[in-house]
C-alpha cells in the first residue's frame, strides 16, 4: 500500500475517504475480503427446490452459479468456462441437466466436472486436444459451500472455520431466530444499483443513529424513535453486527425535540401498511449484517435477504430476496407484501437511504484526503443498550483494517 493509504492516527473513530474510491483498495477488497476467508451469502434453498435448479449470482463482483445436482446437494461453481473464460450461464434462475458453454460447447455436469469437449480427438484425424489432455483437470472451479436452515453460503477460501463458528454465538442466535428450520417461500425479488461504494451500505445499516433523524417517515408514524428500547450487538471480531429494537412506551420528549422532522398529527389514509402482528419473540426489528455481503432484514413481518454485489469502487447492486414461510396463511403473506412497501428501491424508508448513500459518494469520492468522524457513542466498539451510537460501524472497520492490513 502506498503512502496515500495511511489510516488517520485516531484509528477507527476516523474513516479516511480514500477507502471509498481508490481502485487499488477495491482490488484488494475483492482479493482479501470477498475471495478471502469469508462465508458469502449466495441463495436460499427455497430458490432451488428441484435438482437441476440453478441461480446465477455474484460474490463481490465475481459471477458464480449455485446449482442443486441430481443427488440433491448444492454446488457453487465459478460462472466462467474453464476453456477461455466465457460466462456461460446467462439466466438469473433456471433448470438444467448440464451446463454447456456456447463458445466451443465444453460441457459440465452439475458438480462442475468437465464431461464433454467437442473435437477432443480432432476431425478426420486432424487437430484435437493433446493425448494427455485430462478433463478431470479442467472442470469449473468449485467453491466451498455451507448451508444452514435453508440459507446457502459459499467461499473461495480453501481453509476457513465452519459457518456456525464464523457467525459466533450471538449472531447465530439471531440468525436462527428467523431461520429456525421452517421451510421458506420466496415472495419475490427487487434489485437496485446504487452509485456508492459498497461499504456505505454497511455503514448505513449498522448505524441506528441516523434512523430517527433521516427517516421522517418512521418518525411521523411512530415506527422508530431514538427513545425506543433498543440495542446493538456484535460478534467477537466486530465483523458482524445487529441493530435490535422493540416496542415500548414513548412520548414526545425534550430529546425528541432534536428530531426536527417530527410531524404531529400525521396519519396514513390507508393504515394497512402499519398493521404488523407479533411474530417473533422479544424484538420487533432486527437488522443483522453478516460479513461480507449480507443484510438480513426482519422489520416487523417483512423478511428479506439483501445481498451486496460490488460494481467497482463507486457502485453496488443490492439484490433483495423477500421471503416468508411455506406454512404462512394468506393474511400473513399479504402482511409481508404490504410491509415490503417500506423497503426496496421504492421503499418509504429505503428511498432515503439509497439517496443519501449517493450523496455520500458524491462527497467522499472527490475528497479522498478527507476523513469521516465516527465518535457517536465513544471511540471504541462494544455492545450497547441504546441506539445513539456508531459503535457497530467502528467494529466493522476494526475488522476491515485487520483483513485489509491498512
Amino acid at each position: 500500500m502506498g503512502a496515500r493509504h495511511v489510516w488517520p492516527q485516531e484509528g477507527i473513530s476516523r474513516i479516511p475517504y480514500w477507502i471509498y474510491s481508490d481502485p487499488e483498495i477495491y482490488a484488494r477488497e475483492q482479493e482479501r475480503i470477498f475471495c478471502g476467508p469469508s462465508w458469502n451469502y449466495v441463495a436460499l434453498e427455497a430458490e432451488l427446490p428441484r435438482s437441476g435448479d440453478f441461480k446465477r449470482t455474484f460474490i463481490g463482483e465475481k459471477p458464480v452459479v449455485v446449482v442443486r445436482d441430481q443427488q440433491g446437494s448444492i454446488n457453487v461453481v465459478e460462472n466462467r468456462c474453464a476453456h477461455r473464460g466465457v460466462q456461460f450461464c446467462q439466466r438469473h434462475l433456471g433448470n438444467a441437466v448440464e451446463f454447456m458453454c456456447p463458445y466451443h460447447q465444453w460441457t459440465y455436469d452439475l458438480k462442475g466436472n468437465l464431461i464433454g469437449v467437442p473435437f477432443r480427438r480432432g476431425v478426420k484425424k486432424q487437430g484435437g486436444m493433446p493425448a494427455d489432455f485430462d478433463p478431470k483437470n479442467h472442470g469449473l472451479r468449485r467453491l466451498r459451500v455451507a448451508c444452514r436452515h435453508g440459507v446457502i453460503f459459499a467461499s473461495f477460501a480453501s481453509e476457513l472455520e465452519p459457518l456456525e463458528e464464523y457467525f459466533g454465538p450471538s449472531m447465530l442466535a439471531l440468525f436462527d431466530r428467523v431461520f429456525d428450520g421452517r421451510e421458506l417461500r420466496v415472495l419475490g425479488y427487487s434489485r437496485q444499483l446504487t452509485p456508492a461504494n459498497w461499504k456505505l451500505m454497511f455503514e448505513n445499516i449498522k448505524d441506528p443513529y441516523h434512523a430517527s433523524l433521516l427517516h421522517v417517515f418512521l418518525l411521523s408514524f411512530g415506527l422508530f424513535r431514538a427513545d425506543q428500547p433498543s440495542k446493538v450487538q456484535m460478534d467477537a471480531t466486530g465483523r458482524h453486527g445487529a441493530l435490535i429494537s422493540w416496542r415500548g412506551d414513548q412520548k414526545k420528549t425534550e430529546d425528541n425535540a432534536d428530531m426536527k422532522s417530527l410531524i404531529d398529527n400525521f396519519k396514513l389514509q390507508d393504515a394497512t401498511l402499519l398493521e404488523p402482528v407479533r411474530e417473533f419473540p422479544e424484538y420487533t426489528v432486527v437488522m443483522t449484517t453478516l460479513w461480507p455481503n449480507l443484510i438480513i432484514q426482519q422489520q416487523s413481518n417483512t423478511l428479506a435477504m439483501r445481498q451486496l454485489i460490488t460494481r467497482g469502487p463507486a457502485a453496488f447492486e443490492l439484490a433483495w430476496t423477500y421471503f416468508g414461510y411455506a406454512a404462512d396463511d394468506e393474511d400473513m403473506t399479504r402482511r409481508r407484501l404490504r410491509q415490503a412497501n417500506l423497503m426496496g428501491p421504492a421503499g418509504f424508508v429505503s428511498i432515503d437511504d439509497s439517496e443519501v448513500m449517493k450523496f455520500s459518494q458524491a462527497g467522499v469520492g472527490p475528497y479522498p484526503e478527507g476523513a469521516g468522524v465516527m465518535e457517536m457513542g465513544g471511540r471504541d466498539w462494544k455492545d450497547e443498550q441504546h441506539m445513539v451510537t456508531e459503535s457497530v460501524i467502528r467494529a466493522f472497520y476494526a475488522y476491515y483494517r485487520q483483513v485489509m492490513q491498512i
Binding site: H92, S190, L193, S220, D352, S354, F359
Partner: protein
C-alpha cells in the same frame, strides 16, 4: 343513458380517442408533478402496482410498489412531498402502442407500453424505467378511471430509487 352505458356503446374509434386523452392527462399530471391530483385517476377500491417482470413472469407476488386503495396512493404522495429525502429530478413519461382489449363485465382492459425518462442534476437524461401498463378501467363519476394499474417493468435493476409514480 348513464355514463357507464355511454362508454359501453362508444365505437372503437371514439373509445380510443377517450383513452388517448386519458393517458395524456395521466402522464401530464405526473410529468408536471401535480401529484395531489394523481389519486383522482383511480377509483376508491383500486390496485396500483409496479412490478419487475422477473417477479410477474414467475408468479411471485412481490411488487416494488404496492397501493391497494386510493388512500394508499394519497399516502405515497404525502411521502413524496413531506417525508422522503431525495435529489431533485424531473421525469417524463411516454405512452405508446395503446391496445384496447375490450370490455368484460363493465371493466375495460387496456395495455400500453411506457417509457419513463429521468433527468438528474449533473447527469444526462436516461431511460429510467420502461415496461408495459396492464390496466383495468371502469366508468366512474362521468369519466373513465383506473380500477387496476400494473406497471410491469423490463429491467431487473432499478437505477437507485423509484420515487415518483409511473
Amino acid at each position: 343513458m348513464n355514463t357507464a352505458e355511454r362508454y359501453l356503446t362508444l365505437n372503437s374509434r371514439d373509445l380510443r380517442l377517450e383513452l388517448e386523452e386519458l393517458y395524456a392527462a395521466y402522464t401530464a399530471c405526473l410529468d408536471e408533478e401535480r401529484f395531489e391530483e394523481w389519486p383522482e385517476f383511480f377509483v376508491e377500491q383500486c390496485l396500483y402496482k409496479i412490478v419487475p417482470r422477473e417477479n410477474f413472469e414467475r408468479g411471485l407476488p412481490l411488487a416494488t410498489w404496492l397501493c391497494e386503495s386510493k388512500g394508499y396512493l394519497a399516502d405515497r404522495v404525502t411521502a413524496i412531498r413531506k417525508t422522503a429525502v431525495y435529489a431533485p429530478r424531473t421525469m417524463r413519461r411516454m405512452v405508446s402502442g395503446l391496445r384496447v382489449l375490450g370490455w368484460k363485465e363493465g371493466v375495460l382492459e387496456v395495455r400500453a407500453n411506457y417509457v419513463a425518462l429521468e433527468t438528474l442534476q449533473d447527469e444526462f437524461t436516461r431511460v429510467f424505467n420502461t415496461g408495459q401498463y396492464r390496466d383495468k378501467l371502469v366508468a366512474d363519476g362521468g369519466r373513465l378511471k383506473f380500477k387496476e394499474k400494473l406497471c410491469i417493468f423490463d429491467s431487473l435493476l432499478v437505477p437507485n430509487s423509484l420515487i415518483y409514480p409511473l
